[in-house]
């Protein structure tokens, strides 16, 4: 253990405070910027204190959007992002937990082979396979649809692998006890494995939701209809769209709103998995 001396403590705190400041400062700037009138930024000096236009800016972003640049009000885009992120998260979780269950608890021919195939897809993130995936999605007529936005991103080797590792730590006697107690494989899965995995599910839910929410390249490629724009795309369009200077006060208001759902998900899920951490015992 580290000695509890005064200078050590002081030094540790300095490092931590600097670290926090570096992380928090941009967020702070974004929030401040979203409260100023449009003219402030043209001067080229970034204000560090709140301005008077907060209400006005947020109202504009939420109700009007920036119609001249072809950016709809952000409510719709937030909703699209939410649907996409939820579909990806729930899809990834359900498929990976089921495949991990199959790989760990059933003996079937090619089990190891399939495990390695799933594992190999870790090496193929969206960006690598984007052209063939686009072709497939286009051929299925899934451009400009939620299905097209989410399905290609659902397969997840990471989650499958994590669930597999977790299932392997569950004592085999539990499965045997369940068999003696008259529970078939699916019942065992539902009554015992799933409740024990809650912590893992919560942690993965957070990671996957943020992954889905932050998707940028893929939605940009397959949506041309503003109906299906996601919020991350919206920010980008706001910055580059139109022929005037970027309207930083509106962009920043959008950024702040776009960051809210992931923060809420983390706050909500954190309670769940801290509870899980303190209550589970293997």
């Amino acid at each position: 253990m580290v000695d509890n001396n005064r200078w050590g403590n002081f030094f540790a705190h300095v490092i931590l405070i600097v670290g926090v400041a570096i992380v928090v400062f941009p967020v702070y700037v974004a929030i401040i910027a979203s409260t100023h009138p449009p003219g402030t930024f043209v001067r080229g000096v970034m204000p560090l204190l709140p301005g008077p236009n907060a209400w006005e800016n947020y109202r504009t972003v939420i109700t009007e959007g920036r119609s001249r640049a072809g950016t709809p009000p952000i409510g719709g885009m937030m909703w699209n992002s939410f649907i996409m992120a939820m579909a990806i998260t729930i899809g990834k979780l359900s498929i990976s937990i089921i495949s991990a269950f199959a790989i760990v608890y059933f003996r079937f021919p090619g089990r190891i082979f399939f495990f390695w195939i799933i594992f190999m897809t870790l090496m193929l993130p969206v960006e690598v396979r984007i052209v063939p995936t686009f072709q497939v999605v286009a051929d299925f007529g899934m451009l400009n649809s939620f299905a097209g936005l989410s399905i290609p991103l659902i397969a997840s080797a990471t989650a499958t692998f994590l669930f597999r590792q977790f299932f392997m730590t569950v004592p085999e006697e539990l499965m045997e006890a369940a068999r003696v107690d008259g529970a078939g494989p699916m019942k065992f899965f539902k009554d015992i494995l799933l409740p024990l995995s809650i912590t893992n599910i919560a942690a993965l839910f957070v990671i996957m939701f943020i992954y889905g929410w932050n998707q940028y390249l893929w939605p940009l490629l397959i949506t041309t209809d503003p109906e299906y724009y996601t919020i991350v795309m919206g920010i980008q369009r706001m910055v580059t769209g139109g022929d005037s200077e970027p309207l930083w006060h509106l962009v920043m208001a959008t950024v702040v709103l776009a960051a809210l759902p992931p923060v809420l998900v983390i706050l909500f899920m954190q309670r769940l998995f801290v509870k899980g951490l303190t209550e589970t015992e293997k």
């Binding site: 539990l174 006890a177 003696v180 107690d181 009554d191 024990l196």
Partner: protein, 350 residues
């Protein structure tokens, strides 16, 4: 309630690894059979074959009149207590007990009544709302027992249920399990590597070694009349002393060896069959040097060296004698308490 019949049971794993060979045991209705042997002797495998958790590759297994070789564990009407209890960690004690009944479609009232009754019997009534992690080792053990009890199965299977408990609790649970088993008169198969547990709990015990049965009998039969050198060495603590028959023939009177057949080349003597009394007619007189005296309160263990015998002998006396290490001591052994064996086959010769 049912009998269990094992006929020529065997287990061969893929790759020709033999775990169990030609096991024949008839367990009578209500009887408690203890399977005992060193680790790796196949006792757990055999139990798991009866439970249905391992497939049976040879022979037939009957529970009652049904051949159950191909049945799932749940269909065999057995209940099992696992070594690490295998309680469902996320369920309350009540739900742990009720889970098997729920899966079998029992009515709610019936489940509640049975769980209450089992909980009362095991004195875990006040823990019904707790999760397993809030219980001590002994309480978890009781819950594991309760889960078997509520089902009212044809047979209980115990897989070293006491090995995770501390010594004091182990003795207490041993007594409770035995009393409970006698009261319910449920056929039971109990696996342990602890010979004391085996001797105290069994109606009959089965000594296994290398996947084969060495001896089946009541605890006293097995103890006082071991059929093989393995059983002689395994059951009883300290272990039985083994002396070369030739050594006895050269040092003892012919009269004292009257019960030892010519074919015997190894003679076993239990540590407690040595005495410091004056010899009577026909007694053996064995003289050795005391290497170490281990007083154990009510009794003492003496480690001795006999001239011409390679291994040290252990003698158990019901008191702590006032002797000095290095001293020469003469013991008498009654000729009836010798166990003659054939060293080559390991079998008893009579």
């Amino acid at each position: 309630m049912a009998s269990i019949t094992m006929a020529n049971l065997g287990k061969v794993y893929t790759g020709d690894v033999r775990a169990v060979t030609d096991v024949n045991i008839d367990i009578k209705d209500g009887e408690m059979i203890v399977l005992v042997g060193p680790s790796g002797c196949g006792k757990s495998t055999l139990l798991r074959m009866v439970a249905g958790l391992e497939t049976i590759t040879e022979g037939t297994l009957k529970i009652g009149d049904r051949v159950v070789n191909q049945l799932e564990p749940a269909e065999r009407d057995i209940a099992m207590v696992f070594q690490n209890y295998a309680l469902y960690p996320h369920m309350t004690v009540f739900n742990n007990l009720a889970y098997g009944l729920k899966n079998r479609g029992f009515k709610k009232a019936e489940i509640e009544q049975r769980v209450k009754q089992a909980a009362e019997m095991l004195e875990i009534g006040k823990f019904l709302d707790r999760k397993p992690r809030q219980l001590s080792g002994g309480q978890r053990q009781r819950v594991a027992m309760g889960r078997a009890l509520v089902r009212e199965p044809a047979a209980f299977l115990f897989d070293e249920p006491l090995s995770n408990l501390d010594a004091k609790l182990r003795v207490q649970m041993r007594v409770e399990i035995r009393q409970l088993q006698k009261r319910l008169a449920t056929t039971s198969l109990y696996v342990t590597h602890d010979q004391l547990e085996a001797l105290t709990m069994a109606d009959r015990l089965v000594v296994l070694n290398g996947g084969q049965i060495e001896q089946i009998g009541t605890p006293m039969q097995v103890y006082s009349h071991p059929e093989t050198t393995f059983v002689a060495g395994f059951i009883g603590s300290p272990a039985m002393n083994m002396l070369p028959a030739d050594y006895l023939r050269s040092t003892q009177s012919a009269e004292s060896l009257a019960h030892i057949p010519q074919a015997a080349d190894l003679v076993g003597i239990r540590p407690e069959d040595f005495a410091l009394d004056a010899p009577a007619d026909g007694d053996l007189i064995l003289t050795g040097t005391l290497l170490l005296l281990e007083p154990a309160g009510a009794e003492s263990h003496l480690h001795l060296r006999f001239d011409g015998v390679k291994e040290n002998m252990i003698v158990r006396l019901p008191n702590v004698p006032s002797v000095e290490e290095g001293q020469s001591l003469s013991f008498t052994v009654r000729r009836e308490s010798l166990h003659p064996f054939d060293a080559a086959t390991g079998k008893r010769v009579s």
